[in-house]
């Protein structure tokens, strides 16, 4: 990506000054709103991680698709379908693990639908994604019956031995529920796959210059199918997270725009899983701030103003950063071998 040059520490610090400043402000703001208490700070950071989990998963779904040249605007619908499917299976069978697998499987199926329309049939990618979003709202509402519960309850917190007892950091990072841990493992895995394996190189080649990839024997169509379906599986994990781990039930439209926020997270993270994680944490923080405000009794009479924070942040990020971010070159264009 960039040419390696040796830089002095001062130069590095200077070039990252805005990031450092933002981080400092966030840290001070967090401590201040938490009234400098350990329990409050832990709660805020844990809340940030909790809110960031579906976003980083959604963003990884988006970037797997886009790195191979397919825009996935249907992440929202894929997440919603998986949240619903995972919940229905878990509540019928009584097994959360089965529900998790069902969520991932449904996500992959929805990825298959997107790939089928936009890669196989060379349909418009934006419309294909919109179809998924609309269909997901209809299907999940039509086949959902109220009053269902999870017989085994939500997923339980797993503590990683003594690590979980470290104040603040340990409690935030090493005492989590299973899908959160899985996500934390998935971020470096996807990064490794994309940037250090043959498969990742092929994916990126297909997204940047499909016909060149095809001439050296990479199947553009095959790679796109594979990526979009894998991405769907990750979106499915995000959906299962919502219904099985975060809420413990299914509600109509429970994704509430997270699939779209995830797209902004992906762009902000520059189509890189690690970058997306950073961005997701920032967005997660924007949501976790709601609890902060409640601590201090701010705006509790006007919850609507707190409710818009993540959406406004998304718009600001898009408007502020997308112009400078460079998407994969062949994105949005159907590919046909001519």
């Amino acid at each position: 990506m960039s040419v390696k040059e040796s830089k002095s520490i001062q130069q590095v610090l200077f070039s990252k000054r805005w990031w450092i400043l933002t981080a400092l402000i966030l840290v001070i703001f967090t401590l201040w709103t938490a009234e400098f208490q350990e329990a409050n700070t832990t709660a805020v950071l844990a809340g940030t991680l909790r809110h960031s989990t579906p976003l980083v998963l959604g963003a990884m779904c988006g970037l797997l698709c886009e790195r191979s040249g397919v825009i996935n605007i249907g992440i929202e619908g894929q997440m919603l379908m998986s949240a619903w499917g995972g919940f229905m299976v878990a509540s019928t069978s009584g097994s959360l693990l089965l529900g998790l697998f069902a969520g991932i499987a449904i996500g992959m199926m929805m990825g298959g639908v997107l790939a089928g329309i936009s890669v196989g049939l060379r349909g418009d990618q934006i419309i294909a994604g919109t179809v998924i979003n609309i269909a997901a709202i209809g299907i999940t509402s039509f086949f959902f019956s109220l009053g269902r519960t999870l017989p085994s309850g939500k997923t339980q917190v797993i503590k990683l031995g003594p690590l979980a007892d470290i104040p603040v950091a340990g409690r935030v990072l090493f005492s989590n529920k299973p899908i959160t841990f899985l996500t934390l493992l998935l971020i470096p895995t996807v990064w490794f796959l994309l940037f250090r394996t043959k498969w990742g190189l092929r994916t990126r080649a297909v997204g940047e210059h499909p016909s060149a990839a095809e001439t050296v024997g990479v199947s553009v169509i095959g790679m796109r199918y594979l990526n979009v379906i894998m991405g769907g599986g990750i979106a499915g994990l995000a959906g299962a997270y919502l219904s099985l781990e975060a809420v413990g039930s299914f509600e109509r439209g429970m994704t509430n725009g997270k699939g779209f926020v995830a797209l902004a997270v992906m762009i902000f993270g520059r189509w890189n899983p690690v970058g997306a994680w950073g961005a997701a944490l920032l967005f997660g923080y924007a949501s976790a701030v709601q609890t902060q405000f409640q601590f201090r009794d701010w705006l509790t009479d006007d919850p609507q103003f707190i409710g818009i924070i993540p959406f406004v942040v998304t718009i600001v990020v898009l408007a502020g950063f997308v112009g400078r971010a460079r998407p994969p070159a062949s994105i949005g264009q159907p590919y046909s071998r001519e």
């Binding site: 329309i117 418009d124 509402s141 779209f260 718009i315 502020g320 112009g323 971010a325 994105i331 264009q333």
Partner: protein, 349 residues
């Protein structure tokens, strides 16, 4: 392309969707025949139900026009819902807040106020796209959520009616759009606006510029058209159209603004616009079709015990069948099928 092909394609899509819907109804354990019979009963059987269908179709015509209009400039406005609720709320506020005007002033004033609010709300994603390169699909959806929260706040804190229910007071009689027998006048207004859009796009310089930008922004720029200006103007008009739908709903049907008004994300407009192949006049029958599904939905639940959400599924199926080029290609040439494409890339143009 021949007229026969032009008509057969959407009809085929609808037929396929209804057939697939029947299979889904049967799978869920009800009788598709009873369900569709009840659907028609509730929407087209007598003058009253036809009136209700037209009433439901009115905001759909406007929502469909909003999406179709933006499509002409290559823009995808998914923010119809946000623009609609703003239009509905502002029309409601002007409708009750200003008193003592004759109806000939008050009614258009409230409509215009609502439309203007939507135009401003719609212009924001246009400005963000043309100056900052933010893709309108994401910004319009985000603005939907912002709009729902803001209108909720305005209705519950600023313009709230006394009492426990969160809603604005009922509008003055002078701001109400009357019914003409069983036919809602608002529907006629929507039809007139569809014709205005058709004329604007077909026979004016502005319409030509919009279509040029939609077909090839680079060529349009080279020809001296200000692409940025057209993008912002088109989004503003698109927002105005959606908001006018909300205003007509407030002044012609509901009589006030209530949060949760026409909930959902206004995706029907997309289905209608694509079903109409973005032709402003074809939007009218497409909207009536979807309006009939909505009007008959409750009857379907009552008589056949089928959840009205089946209409959402049918709509999604229509969209799939309309938008998938291989189905289209059975009937159209490749070039015509490509006209349906809207995707551009993320980021700056």
């Amino acid at each position: 392309m021949s007229n026969f092909r032009l008509f057969i394609m959407p009809i085929l899509a609808v037929a396929l969707a209804i057939a697939t819907g029947a299979i889904i109804i049967a799978l869920s354990g009800s009788s598709p025949v009873d369900a569709y019979k009840a659907l028609i009963d509730g929407s087209l059987s007598d003058s009253r139900s036809i009136g209700r269908t037209l009433e439901k179709a009115t905001p759909l015509v406007m929502g469909g026009l909003a999406v179709a209009f933006a499509f002409k400039a290559g823009l995808f406005n998914i923010g119809g819902q946000g623009q609609l609720v703003f239009g509905a709320l502002i029309a409601g506020a002007v409708g009750y807040g200003i008193t003592g005007l004759p109806w000939i002033i008050h009614t258009p004033l409230a409509l215009l106020a609502g439309a203007l609010a939507g135009a401003i709300w719609g212009a924001i994603p246009g400005i963000l796209k043309s100056t900052r390169g933010a893709h309108e699909v994401i910004t319009t959806i985000m603005l939907n959520f912002v709009a729902l929260n803001m209108t909720d706040w305005l209705a519950s804190k600023v313009w709230r009616e006394e009492g426990v229910i969160v809603r604005t007071p009922h509008i003055e009689e002078s701001a109400e759009i009357p019914r003409w027998g069983e036919i809602p006048t608002g529907f006629l207004l929507a039809v007139v606006i569809a014709f205005v859009c058709w004329y604007l796009l077909r026979s004016t310089t502005f319409g030509f510029e919009i279509k040029s930008v939609g077909l090839n922004p680079n060529a349009a720029r080279y020809a001296g058209i200000s692409v940025k200006k057209i993008v912002i103007m088109t989004m503003a008009i698109s927002g105005l159209l959606a908001a006018l739908g909300g205003a007509i709903e407030t002044q012609g049907v509901v009589g006030r603004y209530e949060p949760g008004f026409n909930a959902g994300l206004g995706f029907e407009g997309i289905t209608i616009a694509l079903l109409a192949r973005t032709h402003p006049l074809a939007v009218i029958p497409a909207a009536i079709l979807i309006g009939a599904m909505e009007a008959g939905g409750s009857m379907m639940q009552f008589k056949a015990d089928v959840s009205p959400e089946i209409t959402d599924i049918i709509q999604a199926l229509i969209l799939i069948f309309v938008a998938t080029p291989i189905i289209v290609r059975w009937f159209l040439s490749q070039k015509e099928a490509n006209e349906l494409s809207v995707s551009t890339t993320w980021g700056s143009s």
